[in-house]
Amino acid sequence: MSSNMSPEFDAIVVGSGISGGWAAKELTERGLKVLLVERGPHITHRKDYSGEGKAPWEMPLAGRIPEAEANRDYFVQKDCYALEGATKKFFVNDRIHQYIHPKEKPFSWIRGYQLGGRSQLWARQTYRWSEIDFRANKTDGHGIDWPIRYQDIAPWYDHVEKFAGISGSLEGLEQLPDGKFLPPMKLNCVEAEAKQKIEKAFPTRKMIIGRCANITEPTKEHLELGRGQCQYRNECEKGCSFGASFSSLSATLPAARRTSNLTTVTDAIVHSVTYDHVSKRATGVKIIDANTKDFHQYSGRIIFLCASTLGSTQIMMNSLSESFPNGIANSSGTLGHYLMDHIFMSGAHGEHPGFQEHYYSGRRPNGIYIPRFRNVTEKDDRFLRGYGFQGAPQDLTGDAV
């Protein structure tokens, strides 16, 4: 392709997960002709949710994945709670998609290669960063100061929350800004009492209902996209035909499609970003057809890499040119370094006796949240900063609430 030809697309978005879906929506709604490139197969909202709504006795092997298959094909993905018979088609096959890591630094790379990516599988907890977070590097001297502040991003938070449908309670906390929320889900009676007791014993701490991307009360905007109210089934990762659970398939891609500015290609693995050293601009992407293994190129004025942290990094490192011998935009050599994972499944638990005469109905797809208190409302020298804390109640006489 020559740089003096006009590009085929105004923008190319690589990856159709949460960020790719958003990029496709925002750009197409502003009139740009967008190509969305997804490495996995095409799947269709509702039609491909074959495990949705199935009772355990309606699933082969009561929903379990055969041990031999799990060990052979999902030896990494099985670290994710959401992997089961009904959802395995939304996870990668680890036998086919292998990677290496230092033995002393294990890394569970949970992936979903299909249209919508991991937005099919995510846990939907959605929290704003606060001014404290944006200023943290400057305040304590660790890392490089962020070039933006809370006020710069707040309007975008508003926009995203309204469209996605984030439910949550208004708390007025400095460390956890309120947003444009749908009505909050309710705490059950045990949680409500735990909240009261925690907040009485620790006046500087709060326990609140989780803020999640499940529609508690649809707006006109949601309804127009075919999205309805949460039915409290708590099986969002099997696919939600009600569209109450936010995903690319339920929300951003339908919005992008209705502009008629979106072109989607699936089974198209982006190999690299092409670069023109004369104009000093990225000119498009080179892709490998997942089925035929043939190379193709697409040209675009703007390239959005939304292929996940590792996926986008891999593409950039593959994008070699005379100007960028170590990968595009990697003149500093920093690309691919300083990766840190979430701290997961560590924390505390407690049992609350009583309430034998009380119960709930509905399976709430959301838990509780304890906003950061360390070094916000309580000085604590053991921590440089602090943490927020997600939690889930469990009925010890039955199953998860």
Partner: protein
Amino acid sequence: MTKSELSQILLCSASVDTVNLNMDKNIKLNSISLTRRKAIRNAVLLLGGSISVAQISPLISDVAAMSANYIPKFLGKHHFQMNKRLVDLIIPESDTPGALTANVHQFIDVMLDGWAAADTQLRFLDNFNNIDRRSMAMTGKTFADANRTQQIKLLEVLDKESFSDNGTDIFFGEFKALVVFGYYSSEEGASVELRYDRIPGGYRDCIPFSEVGRSWST
């Protein structure tokens, strides 16, 4: 809500689809003021009836294969009989369905055939044989041939061994877990002994337990 009720609702919504439902009317769902059934119907309606009955109907499941004429796929006749006795003793029939009514003995065979890896299959067979050996030593009879009192006595010993802090033989605990899993995954266990609600439609945070009457299975 039963499966057939749900199918009726979904069928009804599918026919309404042709009436060209106007999505702009901003149908507001309020499950508090509506009955749950109505709420689900409305929820389906606002999607233009786009959830088909086929989507909510069962996948080809193992349940269909389980019946009075079930032919074991994995366990031999002797082991299957023993498994049947074990399952019956672990969750007997009471005022609610027992594990045999829920075909859990067949479920165990289905799981050993389709779910268990080779080492798990071997472990089950070895331990079934071991239970027979223990029974022979205690009563002079195989487990299936021993009388009910003798069987229960042996299971109490196995249970104690399995769940003690320095348990040497944990197989019985593993077996029991599979029985309990099978039972509460069955229609009888999950929706008759316990309560199952396919589409709750809403969340009620604090209600008298008596309104539900039993624990939710999911």
